[in-house]
Symmetry: C2
Subunit: 330 residues, 2 copies
């Protein structure tokens, strides 16, 4: 009696065999009502709790899913994590989290470790380009938010290209002709799509794309801030900025304020706390982390249940929230 009750104890207490106790535990119908009651009684009295680890070993897989993102501290990903956790909890599953910090070697180590733990499935917001090494993993994979090359797998995200077009069109509709782009590197598939959307929106309105107004090298807020400052310092500064990510906005906005140029129009990709408290309040494309997380979790659970499902790319709709900054005229 080292403190833990195991099924063996329950079986002994109820005077049945281990196998019968196991049947009761699993709601197997082939057990007499009277026996079932006796066993259940014993389980209650001994406060028996099945050892998930042993079950998983036998089953060959685990009721845990792994969530791998760039950074859990990122507001988008933390909201996504919460949604995922809530969604899988109803299936009795738990969530293992890990951050790659955009290091593909780290990502690979994390995936390996999770597979060694035999997670039931993986939700990955991929880092780096080629993910063909993920083929033939023992656990199903669903990509979240971003696509990866080299692997046919489900993807749950948004239509980044269309959303970017919408954002830039919004600025064009408000009279802007010189619209700058501040975003993350195009290695990230979503960033590439947003940049393409920016270009396409300008082109379809007959505007020239000025390469010098494009800063697609801002992975973090400070870089975006510096890029913004550089744009403002030009002889011919932009009259509007499209900030293609929350982290970028967190650099762009403070810089605009610090330079006293809050009059420059701004549309941000991704909502953030205080966006509606600033003056002017920030117009954003609302990219619902919650919806994405929920849908991705649902998809992964479906795929775990049936690995033969056809690969699907699901896009969660987004909407533009007008708050003021994006409606300012040049």
């Amino acid at each position: 009696m080292n403190g833990r009750t195991i099924l063996r104890d329950v079986a002994d207490a109820a005077g049945v065999s281990l196998r019968t106790a196991s049947r009761v535990l699993n709601d197997d119908h082939r057990v007499a009502a009277a026996t079932r009651l006796r066993v259940q009684q014993a389980m209650r009295e001994l406060r028996f709790q099945p050892d998930e680890m042993a079950r998983s070993l036998r089953a060959g897989t685990d009721a845990t899913i792994g969530l791998i993102v760039e950074s859990i501290a990122d507001p988008f990903f933390s909201a996504l994590t919460e949604a995922v956790e809530a969604a899988v909890a109803v299936d009795g599953k738990s969530v293992l989290v890990a951050s790659t910090h955009r290091d593909s070697a780290a990502e690979r180590r994390i995936v390996d470790r999770m597979l060694q733990r035999r997670v039931g499935g993986l939700l990955i917001s991929p880092t780096g380009d080629d993910h063909s090494w993920l083929a033939n993993t023992s656990a199903p994979v669903v990509f979240v938010d971003r696509a990866a090359y080299g692997l046919e797998a489900d993807l749950v995200g948004i239509d980044d290209h269309r959303a970017a077009v919408e954002a830039v069109n919004h600025l064009i509709a408000h009279g802007h002709r010189r619209i700058a782009y501040v975003g993350d590197t195009p290695e990230i598939t979503t960033s590439a799509a947003r940049l393409a959307g920016y270009r396409d929106a300008l082109t379809s309105s007959g505007l020239r794309v000025s390469e010098e107004l494009i800063r697609s090298d801002c992975a973090a807020a400070p870089a975006a801030g510096a890029a913004t400052a550089a744009l403002l310092d030009r002889d011919d500064p932009p009259t509007a900025i499209f900030s293609a990510g929350t982290r970028c906005s967190l650099g762009v906005v403070p810089t605009l304020h610090a330079h006293g140029r809050a009059d420059i129009a701004l549309v941000g990709f991704g909502d953030f706390a205080m966006a509606d408290t600033l003056r002017p309040a920030i117009t954003v494309i609302d990219h619902s982390a919650h919806e994405v997380g929920r849908a991705a979790a649902a998809r992964l659970i479906a795929r775990i249940a049936d690995p033969e499902l056809r690969v699907e790319h699901l896009q969660i709709p987004v909407r533009l929230i007008e708050r003021g900054s994006g409606e300012q005229r040049p």
Copy 2:
């Protein structure tokens, strides 16, 4: 060959017994150099990866730690999660996360589920008061950020009382006499300590504590916003507000701005994005989630290694960041 290589395959390939292969895997010294090389070679060729699940079953415990907080989407907790994950990763451990949403029944279910999974340890930011039911768990527990009653366990957090005193003294030093308190319910031990600090700071400066300026019922931003509005509507509104939590600040600040009363002095507990971009920028007590997470993870790892350690309460230092809002005079 169903796709997965097991130790048995390695042993066969190397022409040794399972036990010997296991020894190589565990760097047991009692194996001849030549044999070791042969086995390692086989491991590499077959791309063997040990099954953590099987190891854990044998060991009786798992290299995973459970992190249970109020909400992973909360900026403080998400930053803490990231720090915890980074800290335990160096020990090869993973992190299981779950949010209680301040529901103690949910908390208990989560703990049970994690214990059934045989996690190696638990980091808990407790919800509700009595946690005596956590006694005699099979896994060591370290409380993070908040204390719980009814259980002697390690705690890693900050000195909430002292920090609140510092914040309120800061406002007093800038000439304020009518200082309001907007905070979370005192059921949360940290909130209780902050409220006590608020009272003590006023009292030691010879100021009267006006109960009508105390709103300790704001668990979320909207409630804090409403409370702020009510305070502003008084005949004798406060000249300063101490916002005792990040979530509260996220309600207080927008409301002050919406009412055009950004002139009211404000010190917030907990830093947040954009705090230094607002006008005025927000003076805060910086409560480093990263430090708390790192220290808590370190403590848990130490306790897993040696469960006999003496119970310890560790307090991470905090500091006040002057940004403008807290230095405004009445």
